[in-house]
Symmetry: C2
Subunit: 198 residues, 2 copies
């Protein structure tokens, strides 16, 4: 590495570890940062500094915010619906919020059960979920439709059986704008079973 | 934006301005940073801080390094070949260094002439190039084969005419591993004209 120097090389290597960036695009990103030092590199450095000290994981739901309890858990209007949506990851929570699903609360599991990878009930946030469950009228399992996701959904449903809290899952079906022939048969047959009158 | 808070939102927006990252992948990148706070977010924040204060543009060639003159300009062995490679951008310099083109020096133009966009000879580093030219036996124009790139190459060749310094350009031809039917006709006909005996 004749070009750049160790500071630049290290920055490239760290950026290359972000999802979506490989070594090549990390190098282009660093050149862009250097070219736009005042407009991009210095603000990004400052934003990262602030985020490092500000970011917290919510002690109640597992969401990421700058306060704990997070803005969602602290908002009393979100209790009214009585609905708790259980997600695998903070990214799913954010996706649901962007979709505008309404004044609900969330619980982030932080993963799914995966016996093969040694992930058991104690490794994800299931006990905390069970403790919260009685506060809600309905628990919606918005867990990915993978084998591990479905195992996790079954496990949670079993543990909540008899608690009096209704447990539901997201509807399966054709994604809005999705083309039928790109969908797997499972989705298609579920979509047919769950057909609605128009 | 109920989720995240302003510090996180700002970080997403800045990362989304990097080449290769859009708003969606910037959001994933920020979640990854938060998830790996100690291994990734804090080191990246520190690396950016260091880079902000360390990175300099070389006063001689326009390369980016942590010293000026840069490591390349300061290396006396690189004077021996008498070759100066002229590139549009620091990214091109780095690509040539990675390709191991040898003990050469560089000159970064910082752009190409583009009358339509109002980029004239004074807007890129042409005067500095002309001042350096007499130190070298050969000037290789490694400028992109775009219309603006070729205009720039012609302009530099004209200005250097009569200086006694040899001016060359990179060979056109088939990229190593490139498939013929993906190449434009110009490249193919140039590759045929410049054919070499095997
Ligand atoms: Zn919360
Ligand atoms: Zn230099």
């Amino acid at each position: 590495m004749a070009s750049g120097g160790p500071e630049i090389e290290q920055l490239i290597q760290l950026l290359a570890r972000l999802p979506g960036l490989g070594p090549r695009s990390a190098r282009r990103a660093v050149l862009q940062l250097i070219k736009k030092k005042d407009q991009l590199m210095i603000p990004l450095s400052a934003a990262l500094d602030r985020a490092v000290s500000a970011v917290k994981t919510c002690e109640i739901c597992g969401n990421v915010d700058t306060v704990s309890p997070c803005t969602i858990c602290a908002d009393p209007r979100r209790a009214e619906s009585g609905m708790l949506i259980v997600v695998e990851d903070v990214a799913d929570l954010w996706a649901l919020e962007r979709a505008g699903v309404g004044a609900v609360r969330y619980h982030v599991l932080g993963g799914v059960l995966s016996p093969l990878d040694g992930v058991g009930p104690d490794d994800i946030s299931i006990d905390d979920l069970l403790k919260r469950a009685s506060e809600f009228k309905e628990i919606v399992l918005a867990i990915n439709a993978t084998v591990e996701g479905q195992t996790t959904a079954h496990y949670i449903t079993d543990r909540l059986a008899g608690s009096g809290t209704k447990v539901t899952r997201l509807a399966h079906g054709v994604p809005v704008g999705g083309e039928l022939d790109y969908l797997d048969e499972g989705t298609l047959s579920q979509a047919l079973k769950a057909r609605t009158e128009i």
